[in-house]
Amino acid sequence: MQNRTFVSGYYLDDKDLVEGIKSLQANNIEISDVRTPFPVHGLDVKLNMRRSRLPRAGFIAGAFGAAIGFGFQAWVFTQAWPLNFGGKPYLSVPSFIPVTFELTVLFAAFALVFGFLISSGLGPGAPTIIFDEEVTNDRFQILLEATGGNNEQLENALVEAGAEGVKRHDI
């Protein structure tokens, strides 16, 4: 395993965090990650994150579910074994709506959840490196990766950016 060094700084308020990020970005320092106890709005734009493709995945899966749902029912009732139920036509479309709808939702939901988990690298027992356990409590943490031993420079930048505490992590 290669050795990497990170420098972290934390804030106690999301407003300060945003200010801190602004200041770091002004100094052209690349931010590896920001960790917060709750979602801070606007961070994705500030950090130039790519727009999530989850909605698209959800839509495609939903459409697939709908097609499977309707197609399967239609196949069963017209091809596999057409049966006369109470005088209804074999292809009684209104009857197929509920199941089609439910399968649409089900497929989309699975796609979304698994899409989220996979794209985020999360999952049962997924490996994690936690630099500061207080992040999930009340700390807003900025992580910077030190390349070529510039950790002290980064530490200073963080202090400058108003971080309440700065720490170095070697892994």
């Binding site: 049966l83 006369n84 139920f85 109470g86 005088g87 209804k88 036509p89 009684s92």
Partner: protein, 988 residues
């Protein structure tokens, strides 16, 4: 035409042990016969899914198939044979066909060659099959409670007979013997042993009719009635459609005379005067409640009125208004009317005979020259016999299928008399009370296990032939006598010889040898000798005025009277140990598994009684049933219950009221003029299959009067046209390219006798659930007879409607089954795949007709979970399982079932047609209910065939579908009911 098989005659002479073995061999090929092989693996693995899968399978029993060593030509495994035979239980006699599958009788049907019944059979005929498989039948001969071999019986009794004290009588007490061969045997036996005395004892007495004819015509006869020849029938306490004399034949005549199909416009009118609401009264066009005590007065009034009109002088009687009115009608219908009474009272019966004579009905609707041989018993003679027995004049008594201790205890007199006889022999096919008092119990075979012949009227002969080898160590009663008298041969030989010598004649032979004639007779089951001369009989007259004087005023008062009656399922109680009959709802009250005290609504209100309150009537405690239409001060209790030694089902079921019966004026009287009834404070829940009795103004049973009908055949059925006009659908309707089965039920014909219900149960393996389950509305009958009252509760009108699965083309049940267990067949049948059903009961909820039945418990033993069977009637015993129809699946617990239009019969007849390479004939397929219906109310056939009877009936203006406004498109169609009454001529 059905194929009638010649019988097992060829196999007949064989040793007993071998017989048993052969029977068992015939049975063992069938999976139904043993409970071990009745396992359904789908169910089994379903329950133990987890463990079974992992453990790589569970044990599957190896099924053995044992062929017959030598296969008789006519016995084909898996194919049913029909044998013609005759039913007779001491009450009714009906020619039947016995359906035998793999050596065991599984269904009884009426013999359609018989003109009297036209192939119909009553509920009791249908159910009598189950008595064959009754495990409580005496299984082997016994002496003083110890088993004994037949040889020993013979040697002992032979010794007794040969060393007889000539001063004493050896009495053989038989029911009315219809068999000419047996009578021949009796006379031969008497010739050998002159001290033998044959006496006749009927379980339910009709001796007053014979006495009345003796008085008026000089001969103690019961004439042959022809309801179909009458235009007006007036009944007095006579339940001739339910229990009186020959109800099956009468129902058929009655319904035929009231049909309005096939262009018939004329309809028999029926007026009933009665104290209790009988099945017959509930079918009457008009019905007048009448205190039982006043019946003689009413009839006397009728006689006096008619005499006045005929210009005959007689004592005048101030008749009630309704009688005066009906007298007018009767007088107009002279020679085409019929007055009958069901009361066993000589004075009443004499009046009836004289009234009919006045109306010139004799030899038109009453054939006195063709008397019937039923009910030959004479109550006076019976009373005298008891006296002789008490006076030590009788040395031995043999009860030949009679049970006087139960049917006529006469204040313990019968018991004392029997105990006074040193040798007491019971020759009986069923457990009886009388047998308990006997030294010898000699088991007799069930009528399906023995040979016999019958002659209902002179010249009409029918044969009884065995359809199965005796299940127990039984011997035909006639063969007992033959053995004791040392006669050679078997009873079969005797019958054949008798037929050869006495019945076979040139007109019947039609050029055939006797052997051929005999075989043809066996195949057909009956022979009618048209040339037998009518019996000469002349009117001698009797002193009517004396009776009129005695009954010239009403005697009913505020005293409570009690009427004892036979109800339709149980009758006199002889066949009471029969789960099918006990579970059959009574035709009027729709209560089963008990008897009860019927009380008029007004009287119940007066005393503050409601249904289920237990009251004591002269000390007998029974629950109350409020019966609309009953005379106000009349109480009524059914006989036939409270058996003490009848077997597992009937013993101690209900209360026995035969002890109330006394011999009055030489006849057993079933009416008590004064009884005490007090509330006990207890309650008892009756097992009623219907709890709401009003139609709530819904157009379920549609009816009209004959006058309206003649003006407009669609009267009363106007709604049908309205609904038809609205007939529209978004979807295209499914096409039925081949057959489209349909059924038409003529509500004008259906009398509500319930024979169809038992026929259906027998055909379709419908389980018996028992009293407690019926109380919880868990009854399983696929077919029920809804009964509604309308109008005044003191004298309501009654309508009935047989309801089974309506096989809707737009069936609401089919849409809602999640697993597709019920759907529509290509022939329009609403099919139900039991093995697919998971039991959500959604279909039943969504059935507007509520005809689906759910297996609440394991009633049949088909469930794979052990120790959970609910089978109070022993229907899952191996012996009783022999009655199961192997072509119909036995349903498991948790499964919905319902009427299938007897699809197994449809399949069978279709296959026959295919094998013959011909089209199906209309009427070839008969459902079980249709087949047995005495009123011919049910028609089944192909609606796609424009020439079928069903298609023709569908064009009748009276035609409508039940709840047709729901657009379920039922394949069962009803024809509306027409009452023969007119606003201008009404009794009340």
């Amino acid at each position: 035409m059905k194929e009638y098989w010649r019988s097992l005659e060829d196999l007949l002479p064989a040793e007993e042990t071998e017989q048993e073995k052969k029977t068992s061999m015939l049975l063992s090929d069938d999976t139904e016969s043993s409970k071990n092989s009745r396992r359904d693996f789908l169910k089994y693995f379903g329950f133990s899914i987890a463990s079974a899968a992992v453990l790589a399978g569970c044990e599957r029993p190896v099924k053995k198939a044992i062929p017959l060593l030598i296969q008789p030509e006519e016995v084909k495994p898996g194919t049913a044979n029909y044998y013609a035979s005759t039913f007779y239980d001491g009450a009714e006699m009906i020619p039947i066909l016995v359906k035998v599958r793999d050596g065991r009788p599984i269904k009884i049907e009426g013999n359609d060659l018989c003109k009297m019944t036209g192939g119909a059979a009553s509920a009791r005929v249908q159910a009598s099959l189950l008595n064959l498989y009754d495990e409580s039948r005496p299984a082997a001969p016994s002496l003083d409670g110890k088993s004994i071999a037949w040889d020993e019986v013979d040697s002992k009794l032979k010794e007794t007979l040969e060393n007889w004290d000539a001063n004493k009588e050896f009495v053989i007490l038989t029911p009315s013997i219809l068999s000419p061969s047996t009578q021949k045997l009796f006379s031969d036996f008497k010739a050998k042993y002159p001290f033998v005395v044959f006496e006749t004892f009927d379980a339910f007495s009709y001796s007053a009719i014979r006495e009345a004819y003796k008085a008026s015509f000089g001969k103690a006869i019961i004439p042959l009635y022809r309801f179909d020849q009458a235009k007006l029938v007036v009944g007095f306490n006579a339940d001739f459609l339910g229990t009186w004399l020959q109800p099956t034949a009468f129902s058929r005549q009655y319904a035929a005379a009231r049909k309005l199909t096939e262009g018939q416009k004329d309809m028999l009118r029926h007026v009933q005067f009665e104290s209790i609401m009988t099945l017959t009264g509930s079918n009457a066009d008009e019905r007048v409640p009448m205190p039982a005590a006043d019946e003689a007065y009413y009839l006397a009034g009728l006689y006096a009125e008619l005499a006045k009109k005929s210009g005959i002088s007689s004592t005048s009687v101030n008749a009630p208004e309704s009688i005066a009115k009906i007298a007018n009608e009767l007088f107009q219908a002279k020679g085409k009317s019929l007055v009958v009474s069901g009361t066993n009272d000589v004075a009443i019966q004499t009046l009836v005979v004289e009234i009919n004579k006045l109306l010139q009905n004799t030899s038109k609707t009453i054939l006195v020259d063709k008397p019937i041989n039923l009910y030959q018993g004479n109550d006076k003679a019976y009373a005298e016999l008891l006296t002789r027995m008490e006076d030590n004049k009788v040395g031995a008594v043999l009860f030949w299928e009679t049970n006087p201790l139960y049917h006529a205890p006469l204040n313990g007199k019968t018991e004392e008399a029997i105990k006074n006889v040193p040798v007491r022999i019971a020759v009986q096919s069923q457990a009886t009370e009388t047998a308990k008092l006997c030294n010898y119990i000699l088991p007799a075979p069930h009528f399906l296990e023995r040979w016999d012949d019958k002659a209902l009227v002179a010249g009409a002969y029918s044969l009884t032939q065995p359809a199965i080898r005796p299940i127990f160590k039984t011997r035909t009663p006639q063969e007992n006598l033959m053995a004791w008298a040392g006669f050679e041969g078997s009873y079969y030989d005797l019958i054949k010889l008798y037929w050869k010598e006495n019945i076979y004649n040139s007109s019947l032979a039609k050029g055939r040898h006797f052997e051929t004639f005999w075989k043809v007779s066996l195949r057909d089951g009956l022979v009618i000798d048209e040339k037998v001369a009518p019996q000469a009989i002349n009117y001698t007259g009797t002193n009517v005025n004396q009776i009129l004087k005695k009954n010239n005023a009403a005697i009913s008062s505020n005293d409570l009277e009690l009427v004892l009656y036979q109800n339709v399922p149980i009758g006199d109680g002889t066949l009471a140990n029969n789960p099918w009959l006990q579970e059959l709802p009574e035709a009027v009250s729709r209560v089963c598994w008990d008897n009860y005290v019927s009380v008029a609504p007004a009287f119940a209100a007066l005393r503050g009684w409601t249904q289920g309150d237990v009251i004591a009537v002269n000390g007998i405690e029974l629950p109350v049933l409020v019966q609309p239409g009953q005379a106000r001060n009349t109480l009524a209790i059914a006989v036939g219950y409270g058996r003490k030694n009848a077997g597992r089902v009937a013993t101690d079921l209900g209360k026995n009221v035969y002890p109330f019966v006394q011999i009055i004026n030489g006849a057993r009287s079933y009416t008590l003029p004064k009884v005490e009834a007090v509330a006990t404070g207890k309650t008892y829940e009756l097992a009623a299959t219907q709890s709401h009795h009003s139609m709530e103004g819904r157009a379920l049973v549609r009816e009209t009067t004959i006058a309206e009908y003649l003006k407009n055949p669609a009267s009363g059925n106007e709604m049908h046209a309205k609904v038809e006009k609205l007939h529209t659908t978004l979807y295209h309707e499914h096409e039925y390219k081949g057959h489209h089965w349909g059924m038409v039920i003529d509500l004008n014909s259906c009398t509500g006798c319930n024979a169809c219900v038992v026929a259906c149960s027998a055909e379709n393996n419908v389980p018996v659930v028992g009293r407690n389950e019926v109380r919880r509305s868990h009854e399983m009958h696929w077919l029920r007879l809804d009964r509604y009252y309308s109008g005044d509760s003191d004298n309501p009108e009654v309508v009935r409607q047989p309801v089974m699965c309506q096989h809707c083309d737009n069936a609401p049940c089919e849409n809602v089954c999640p697993v597709a267990a019920t759907n529509h067949s290509s022939e329009g049948i609403n099919q139900m795949a039991y093995n697919r059903c998971i039991g959500t009961r959604y279909c039943n909820n969504n059935c507007p007709y509520k005809v689906r039945r759910f297996n609440w418990y394991d009633y049949t033993g088909a469930d794979s979970i052990p120790n959970n069977r609910v089978d109070v009637a022993g229907m899952t015993l191996d012996l009783k399982r022999m009655v199961l129809n192997p072509d119909v699946t036995v349903r498991a617990k948790g499964v919905i079932e319902k009427c299938s239009f007897c699809v197994q019969r449809i399949q069978d007849r279709k296959l026959n047609a295919k094998k013959d390479g011909r089209q199906l004939r209309d009427g070839e397929i008969k459902t079980a209910c249709q087949q047995t219906c005495p009123a011919d109310a049910i028609t089944f056939g192909d609606m796609n065939d424009p020439n079928s009877k069903v298609s023709k009936l569908l064009k009748d203006a009276r035609q409508y579908g039940l709840l047709e406004e729901l657009h379920t498109l039922p394949s069962v169609v009803y024809l509306s009911k027409v009452r023969n009454k007119d606003k201008n001529k009404t009794l009340s």
